[in-house]
């Protein structure tokens, strides 16, 4: 065991508190007193990684075990990397400044495709071989989880294993298996075979992959009895019974989300057809207001945070929202802290709630209509009408807000130029609404900020078969929209189209992309999510050097194609996604889970095959009501 001395280089870097550690509530243990050391890696900078809830949860889960010490590792910023390389200092953990290659596990959370090169850079800075097959018996087990792990294939040669789904339970099973394996004195491969038997674990080297002549996947089969032909994701069925951190680490520097967050529920009832999160986290499972309020009290006391935020995919869909808001607002008013409610939907956003939140602190308002025309919103199953949006924005304007932000996508399947121009029309109507109301302050001008992203088809969505717009098409649509915006109160911003395309390539990629990734890293690609670091020319060269055609990955796919991610069982079936894609073509919407079950398949993940929606109090009441009324 060793530690690195970074005192000297900390003086020379821009933001030393990214690396210096010692934050309140960071876990201090004697590394000599544990049998397992786990380096939890967030493959981006400290201020991004420290905002991530999943990391806080798993850090807490692992450190609750007396036999395990989990420490944090982040991607160094450019200046720190230069210092580390010049001084020949290996990448280290924040808590004890131990070199990353001395840990037993290096666990990476994969939140977005554009962080993949950071994973390679981190392994390289730690002196760990980039490819799984090159790692020796003493190397850490390099593993990954998180939403991008649902299509693990573009990283299959890099990671030793992947975890599919929610980690609270399975991470403990992995640690128990490690202790057993250590006691048995087995080889590295023995551990991997041992955990391949655990539900939710995928060990890429235990599968053989064959391709058709056209480059599509022919077959993917286990090469040993331990590996499962299909890997089913893990879920926690009852969130009230699972551990949640009572302390968050309080960073010294200002991070992206610097606040106490409460996870209100997992999953989503909505079924927007572009949304991967809405499918992979199914079925919806709620936490009780009582549990959430006690989580909030503990977090405020241990952190001193001045803001609580509710976290979920669609906060206003929480069935006991009023009850929770009552309880939380009583707490926040007493403690003089703010309550922020991201992810509110435009169709069930209430005035009374907004006024009550406003009493404490006014935060910005963001709505996500996602598409400009009603036809397009029906295609993507957003189930939001123009009236819904106007009603909500109108409430906001009347409530004293002048600035609203609207999120949209372009490049959606079955999209026409009129649909794109519809974004401008909708934004204009929002501006007009401000001037039409007799409650708004006309001496101040409204500001309507529209943010437009390029659509990226993702695995495990009804649009996983869709072709992705190329850069030229996306740029043309961006320009078209820009020309359509003639109102000076509308501010238009859009994402770089080359990043969207690259994201799409890796999202639906296969094992062949491992080579491209390694080559891109060798050419200097890193921190691709940061526009000041992203360099598309290097990526183009990496694809060319590997003889791989990027267009292969953005093409439209047929229903009979075997996908690299088909071996992962998320509960929701491929058949359901096909049905949804067909409805999209016809611009037919599908009602949400509480209105009508669409038999997506996620109920299979729950005990007795009964989806959690049926266990919700409100759903039970509705069923009772229906029965009583015959």
């Amino acid at each position: 065991m060793s530690t690195v001395n970074i005192d000297k280089i900390l003086k020379r870097v821009q933001k030393p508190t990214r690396y210096s550690g010692g934050e309140l509530n960071s876990v201090v243990k004697d590394p000599g007193g544990v049998s397992i050391r786990y380096a939890f890696v967030f493959p981006d900078t400290y201020e991004v990684g420290m905002s991530h809830l999943g990391m806080k949860i798993l850090y807490h889960c692992l450190n609750q075990r007396p036999d395990t010490y989990c420490e944090r590792v982040f991607a160094p910023w450019v200046d720190m990397e230069e210092e580390l390389r010049r001084e020949n200092i290996p990448l280290f953990s924040i808590e004890t400044r131990t070199p990353v290659n001395e840990f037993d596990f290096v666990g990476v959370t994969l939140q977005y495709e554009m962080s993949y090169t950071n994973v390679l850079n981190i392994l390289d800075l730690a002196g760990i071989p980039l490819l799984s097959r090159d790692r020796g018996e003493d190397a850490p087990f390099v593993n990954a989880g998180g939403p991008c792990a649902y299509n693990p294939e573009p990283l299959a040669e890099i990671f030793d294993f992947f975890t599919m789904g929610e980690g609270e339970e399975v991470i403990g099973e992995l640690m128990d298996a490690y202790n057993e394996w250590k006691a048995e004195g087995g080889k590295r491969i023995d551990y991997l075979k041992k955990i391949a038997k655990i539900e939710g674990i995928y060990v890429p080297c235990l599968y053989d992959v064959e391709y058709n002549a056209d480059g599509t996947l022919k077959s993917m089969v286990p090469n040993c009895p331990e590996a499962k032909p299909r890997v089913r994701k893990r879920i926690i069925e009852n969130l009230d019974e699972i551990v949640y951190p009572d302390k968050f680490i309080v960073p010294f520097m200002d991070i992206v989300h610097d606040r106490a967050s409460l996870e209100v529920f997992r999953g989503c009832i909505r079924g927007c057809r572009f949304c991967q999160a809405g499918m992979i986290y199914r079925p919806v499972r709620e936490k009780s207001p009582g549990r959430l309020t006690s989580d909030a009290e503990k977090l405020l006391a241990s952190t001193g945070y001045e803001e609580i935020s509710l976290s979920s995919l669609s906060t206003s869909d929480y069935t006991r929202f009023e009850e929770l808001a009552d309880k939380l607002l009583a707490l926040t008013e007493k403690e003089k802290v703010g309550l922020s409610l991201p992810s509110l939907r435009v169709d069930n956003f209430g005035l009374s709630l907004m006024e009550r939140v406003q009493k404490v602190r006014k935060s910005g308002l963001t709505f996500a209509p996602e598409a400009g025309s009603q036809r397009m919103r029906d295609v993507i199953n957003k189930n939001v009408s123009e009236e819904d949006l106007m009603r909500s924005v109108g409430l906001a304007f009347d409530g004293g807000w002048q600035t609203v932000k609207l999120y949209f996508m372009i490049g959606l399947p079955y999209e026409t130029d009129e649909d794109v121009a519809g974004i401008a029309r909708l934004a204009e109507k929002v501006v007009e609404l401000y001037y039409a109301s007799d409650k708004t302050n006309k001496r101040r001008a409204p500001s309507v900020n529209i943010s437009v992203a390029g659509f990226v088809p993702k695995p495990f969505t009804p649009f996983q078969w869709a072709g992705q717009n190329d850069m030229e098409t996306l740029s043309r649509k961006q320009k078209l929209l820009k020309a359509e915006i003639r109102n000076r109160h509308i501010k238009y911003s859009y994402h770089q189209s080359d990043i969207s395309v690259l994201e799409g390539i890796f999202a639906r990629g296969d094992r062949k992309l491992n080579r491209v990734l390694v080559r891109a890293f060798e050419l200097g690609c890193k921190l691709d999510g940061w526009s000041e670091c992203f360099d598309m020319d290097r990526w183009r060269r990496a694809f060319a050097d590997c003889g791989i055609e990027p267009d292969f990955y953005t093409r439209e796919r047929s229903y009979d194609e075997l996908f690299p991610w088909d071996f992962v069982d998320i509960g929701v079936t491929k058949d359901f996604m096909m049905r949804e894609n067909e409805r999209a073509k016809a611009a037919v919407t599908t009602p949400h889970c509480r209105l009508q079950c669409s038999a997506c398949g996620a109920a299979d993940l729950c005990a007795g095959g009964r989806c959690s929606v049926y266990k919700e109090e409100s759903s039970l009441n509705k069923i009772k009501e229906l029965k009583e009324n015959g």
Partner: protein, 215 residues
């Protein structure tokens, strides 16, 4: 609008050492606010649109500096005993920040004129006599209006070389303020053949114009 609440003034002296030396001043303000909440002290908030705790720092400390004489004024809506405030804050502070003493009333921070720093370089200079005899010591210095050449000589009151460290008494406060890293840069520039290498900076005391310690 006049603040009609009954508020109680306190000030405290704290030290900043270890990893805490990397916390910037702005981040430190946030760290303190949160510590006050955790300690459950009856903090007085400003009455504006975005209420913030009423706190005042005597002299911001640069990133990388340690100190044993930081002064902070605060206002409370109640009147707990001084020792209670000290103990409750120390119980919830991150490592490296320690409250040394708490006092009732207003501090003398507005009288601040000088600060004493201990500078520990990798290499000590042989002598600073010639350096101190310079009439003008011009060096580029960060000011409110950008980086400018400035004569820092009038703001160096004293430099003493002791065993392995330099003790610098420099102008401090909102009017004139000189930081010891600027002095070290000037020494590297003007003392022939001198290269300090990396330095440790520590603030040891603050004084008023009569060289009375403010604490």
């Amino acid at each position: 609008m006049a603040d009609e609440r009954i508020l109680y003034d306190y000030y405290l002296i704290y030290e900043k050492t270890g990893a805490a030396k990397y916390i910037s001043h702005l981040d430190f303000v946030r760290t303190y606010n949160r510590a006050m909440r955790r300690a459950g002290l009856p903090v007085a908030f400003s009455e504006g649109f975005n209420p913030h705790p009423l706190l005042g720092f005597a002299l911001p400390l640069s990133v990388g500096y340690t100190s044993e004489c930081e002064l902070l004024e605060l206002r409370l809506t109640g009147a707990p005993a001084e020792a209670e405030i000290r103990d409750r804050l120390n119980a919830v502070m991150p490592g490296g920040i320690k409250i040394l003493s708490v006092h009732r009333g207003k501090s003398r921070m507005k009288k601040l004129r000088y600060a004493l720093y201990y500078v520990t370089p990798e290499h000590m200079p042989g002598s600073v006599d010639a350096f101190l005899q310079m009439e003008h010591t011009v060096i580029d210095k960060k000011t409110k209006s950008g980086i400018k050449d400035a004569d820092i000589r009038p703001d160096i009151k004293e430099i003493r070389l002791t065993d392995g460290r330099m003790e610098m008494l420099l102008s401090a406060g909102s009017d004139k303020n000189l930081k010891p890293d600027v002095v070290v840069r000037a020494m590297n520039k003007y003392i022939p053949g001198y290269d300090s290498g990396d330095c440790e900076y520590h603030r040891a005391a603050i004084y008023d114009e009569n060289m009375e310690v403010i604490n």
